[in-house]
């Protein structure tokens, strides 16, 4: 089979994106996020036992884990046949890089221009916000984003790709049952189509109806107990208010522009403005943007994830700008410099994206989880009694369980967990020894893990109540963390 030039170019972009991931993920032998260790532990458990952890005796000292485990089964089963490094490191990178294919397909669908579509794919390969949540990490986002885009593509090509839509939308709901983005997008699509007097095709209505039903059914089956007790508030996933603030409120305009990328932002917005043809494809992308903003306003999607989808849609609409710019240049006297101008634009776009991408990727790999952090965790694993409880901050809980193999007092599995966030905050911020020990004793903590991450999170340099007191004995220290044993 002879591949066309465009296909080779697309493959080249894919391999560049994949190579970018590999270049960073092989810099460290571990993963760069606390969440990765949650997925790693659950996947490895499935590899060993063929069944998921339903009740985790280490999380919160005992907590029901509410998860569909689709990702864990997928990785766990592959782990039986393939080497670990391939399953947990390379495969997620492969999924994340596959975004270039679907962006290419979508951009081509909108512009009907292969070069513009390739440009969109190239932008998508280096979206900083996407890299920050996927590089050297096991995360549902790695799979969710490409699948989400493939489902949109399936909806736009329903006559040919009916089964693609059906199959992928089912996987998508199972992967993240409480993610409302696709549901909202499809509902917005209906609303916008009606508002713009576009006839919604019969097969689209059928597909959207079926997806809505599957979404409801799967949600009610998995989260029945939560819906019965919390009602629709279940969609907030029992997230503590304090965590909520961290996830949604730290808005910084310049940082947001940086993680979207200045070129996708300008070209993407321009693409939306100059696209005059009001057809269903562009209506669908407008629906994604509207759904994204609505979910951000309702705080039903983490800020980072909201920005990520915004950036990805802008990559597709940036292709429209490129197509229009090329068409315009052709009409001017600068037509003979078209290739030069386009090459310049591509280079500018790449530079403006690659620089923040490299910075973000380097930060994620260097600071996500550090060697010293792993060293501290391994010390806890090797030097503390097996039944001891370690108190760390909420974003270290999965590390404590997975690497130190000890019970934590808090982690990010909030569904059935009691709200301990304020007590943990007290432990790290109070000046009172009595209050701190009360909170630690309440959850039976034997060790206190004080890391640089906790110091940054709670804006403290050291814990005042430890100084000069005989209640805490320092048992481990390195440049990143100190482990104290409670002795009173």
């Amino acid at each position: 089979m002879k591949l066309r030039k465009e296909t080779w170019t697309l493959l080249f972009i894919f391999f560049v994106a994949f190579g970018f991931h590999l270049a960073f993920l092989f810099q460290v032998p571990f993963f760069s996020s606390d969440e990765s260790y949650f997925h790693l532990r659950h996947s490895q458990y499935i590899t060993e036992h063929f069944s998921p952890i339903v009740y985790d005796s280490l999380s919160y000292g005992g907590n029901v884990i509410l998860n569909t485990h689709i990702l864990h089964y997928f990785l766990g089963i592959l782990d039986i046949f393939l080497p670990e490094i391939l399953v947990y490191k390379i495969l997620p990178a492969l999924f994340a890089s596959s975004i270039v294919f679907v962006i290419y397909l979508l951009a081509k669908k909108v512009t009907e221009n292969e070069y513009a579509a390739l440009f969109g794919a190239l932008l998508a390969a280096f979206v900083p916000s996407f890299l920050s949540v996927t590089i050297n990490q096991i995360s549902t986002t790695t799979l969710f984003v490409p699948l989400f885009l493939f489902v949109l593509y399936g909806l736009l090509t329903l006559e040919k790709q009916r089964m693609l839509f059906l199959f992928l939308s089912l996987i998508l709901v199972l992967l993240e049952p409480l993610n409302l983005l696709l549901l909202f997008t499809l509902l917005m699509f209906i609303v916008l189509s009606l508002a713009e007097s576009h006839a919604i095709q019969k097969n689209e209505m059928e597909a959207i109806g079926l997806f809505t039903l599957l979404f409801l059914l799967i949600n009610l089956i998995f989260f029945k107990q939560l819906y019965l007790t919390q009602g629709l508030a279940t969609v907030w996933q029992n997230l503590p208010l304090e965590i909520y603030g961290n996830l949604f409120q730290n808005f910084d305009l310049f940082q947001t522009i940086a993680i979207i990328g200045i070129v996708p932002l300008i070209l993407g917005v321009l693409g939306l403005l100059v696209y005059k043809k009001h057809d269903r494809t562009i209506t669908l992308f407008q629906s994604v943007l509207l759904a994204d903003f609505t979910l951000l306003l309702l705080r039903l999607i983490p800020f980072e994830e909201g920005v990520l989808f915004l950036a990805i849609v802008l990559c597709v609409t940036a292709a429209i700008s490129i197509e229009k710019i090329v068409a315009y240049i052709r009409l001017t006297k600068a037509a003979r410099y078209k290739s030069l101008l386009m090459a310049t634009l591509v280079i500018v776009a790449l530079v403006s994206l690659i620089i923040p991408s490299v910075v973000i990727a380097r930060d994620v790999v260097r600071e996500g989880v550090t060697v010293s952090e792993i060293e501290a965790m391994e010390w806890i694993r090797d030097n503390t009694p097996e039944d001891s409880v370690v108190a760390g901050n909420v974003y270290e809980g999965n590390l404590i369980i997975a690497i130190a193999q000890r019970a934590n007092i808090i982690d990010t599995q909030f569904f059935y967990a009691e709200d301990r966030i304020l007590d943990v905050e007290t432990i790290f911020t109070t000046e009172s020894l009595v209050k701190a020990t009360q909170a630690l004793r309440k959850y039976g903590a034997d060790y206190l893990y004080v890391s640089k991450k906790s110091q940054d999170l709670y804006v403290v340099s050291e814990l005042p109540y430890i100084k000069g007191e005989s209640c805490f004995e320092e048992v481990f220290r390195n440049d990143y963390a100190i482990v104290y044993k409670m002795v009173c």
Partner: protein, 461 residues
């Protein structure tokens, strides 16, 4: 859909109804929640004075259900909900005969009714709904048969004794019907008069003895939540199934062109939806109205020309799975509901203690009274003159940490025992040593006389 025209379908539906209604009684027995304890106590000793509720009060209750059960409380409590559940399906079928000719639609409606959470809740255990709903169905069935319509009068005369709210809602639905059909108006007026008369006499006697019913101003501020008020799947006790409602919406939309021909149904449905926001009991009537529309919606989808047979099959399958899931989920919730064996043991223990008033959360009041002890407060607060004062005093007791705050109230209500359980701790306190818990733990005046399975009983010494 042709399967629903076979002769044996009705027998299969009846068998399914028996199976569905037997699950909860067989797995769990009749004692679910607080209502069976309350009803059983009243049925065993019918009297206008209740010695145990609120420390002794005029028994201003809907006496219909306890009186029907009083000849043999334990037997009737176990058997009657099941038998009346089956009878209700037959009555509902008879009502449908008056309106629906299509057998498929009729049988599908019956299937959806049997699987609906509201029906399963009503007829799985002896609660306050099963008798009024059965009577409403019996009355409606007679009313819609012109030859027997006058026979519905005696039922409407006794219905206010079972539930004044359901009687009123039913009368309004029948009013819509007579307005639309322009027939049976005389019968309706007789029903209205009969129900008003018996209701006025019954509640007049109660008002005469207790004064006007007072609502409590300190009730937990309930937010207006559309979904968790109406739908079982989102948290209400016996609401509509979400999939049934979706199908019913499709059914209504499919019939919307003929809205003026179906004005009675749409009017009644709108009325019941509005009332259900404020009074949950009417959800059982709303469910009866929603079910035929849901069947209509299902048939509409099944007969629609789809672009893909895969989409069609999966959509219908998803609806069926959703409806079945809601039903199973209701059975599971009832099977797992309180009181568990630990609470029953505690009730038994309490019944063996010497007489005294027991303080606890109002939701435990019926259990305490079932043990033969007086409670300070319970959920039957209507017509209790000092209910509000008692609730405020209870609030003070929950949060009090000093003897000065506690003893005047303990003395005023002659409280001898305190019942605390894990669920109650979750509702009332954040810490193990908060408020009353602190006093019980550290005061020498209280002795823990029972502590098993998360239930603690303390005695004032």
């Amino acid at each position: 859909m042709q399967l629903f025209t076979k002769w044996y379908v009705k027998y299969i539906l009846l068998a399914l109804c028996c199976a569905v209604l037997l699950v909860v009684p067989l797995l769990r027995g009749p004692l679910i929640g607080t209502e069976p304890f309350f009803t059983a106590r009243l049925a065993a000793h019918p009297s206008w004075h209740d010695d145990l509720s609120f420390g002794g009060r005029f028994a201003a209750y809907a006496w219909g259900t306890p009186l029907v059960l009083s000849p043999a409380p334990s037997v009737l409590m176990a058997a009657l909900p099941f038998l009346l559940g089956i009878a209700s399906v037959l009555l509902f079928s008879s009502i449908l005969n008056s309106f629906i000719e299509d057998k498929r639609l009729k049988y599908l409606s019956l299937l959806f009714l049997i699987l609906s959470p509201s029906f399963i809740y009503t007829f799985s255990f002896p609660n306050s709904l099963f008798l009024p709903v059965f009577l409403v169905l019996a009355a409606a069935s007679l009313f819609f048969h012109k030859r027997y319509s006058w026979w519905s009068l005696p039922i409407f005369v006794i219905l206010p004794l079972f539930s004044i709210l359901i009687t009123t809602a039913c009368l309004i639905v029948l009013f819509c019907y007579t307005l639309w059909k322009k027939e049976q108006q005389k019968v309706f007026l007789a029903l209205l008069f009969g129900a008003l008369l018996s209701g006025a006499l019954y509640y007049g006697y109660i008002f005469y003895n207790t004064g006007w019913a007072v609502g409590l101003s300190l009730g937990e501020g309930k937010a207006f939540q559309l979904f968790s008020t109406l739908f079982y799947d989102f948290g209400t006790l016996y609401g509509l199934g979400i999939f049934l409602t979706l199908l019913a919406t499709i059914g209504i939309l499919s019939k919307w062109e003929k809205k003026y021909a179906n004005l009675f149904l749409f009017l009644s449905l709108s009325f019941l939806i509005v009332v259900s926001f404020f009074r949950q009991e009417t959800l059982v009537l709303l469910n009866l109205m929603v079910v035929p529309f849901a069947a209509q919606g299902f048939m509409f989808l099944a007969e629609l020309r789809w672009t893909s047979k895969h989409f069609k099959m999966l959509t219908l399958l998803a609806f069926v799975c959703g409806i079945v899931f809601s039903g199973i989920s209701q059975m599971d919730a009832l099977t797992e509901a309180k009181p568990d064996a630990h609470v029953l043991n505690a009730i038994q223990f309490l019944s063996e203690q010497e007489q005294g008033t027991v303080f606890s959360h109002q939701s435990r009041g019926a259990w305490i009274a079932a043990s033969g002890q007086k409670n300070m407060i319970d959920e039957q607060y209507l017509f209790v003159p000092d209910a509000e004062k008692r609730f405020w005093d209870a609030e003070i007791l929950y949060s009090a940490r000093t003897k000065e705050e506690i003893y005047p109230i303990l003395t005023a209500y002659d409280i001898k025992y305190v019942w605390i359980d894990d669920e109650m701790k979750g509702i009332l306190w954040d810490y193990q040593t908060e408020g009353l818990l602190f006093v019980l733990e550290y005061s020498r005046d209280f002795t823990k006389i029972y502590d098993e399975g998360g239930v603690e009983i303390w005695k004032l010494t």
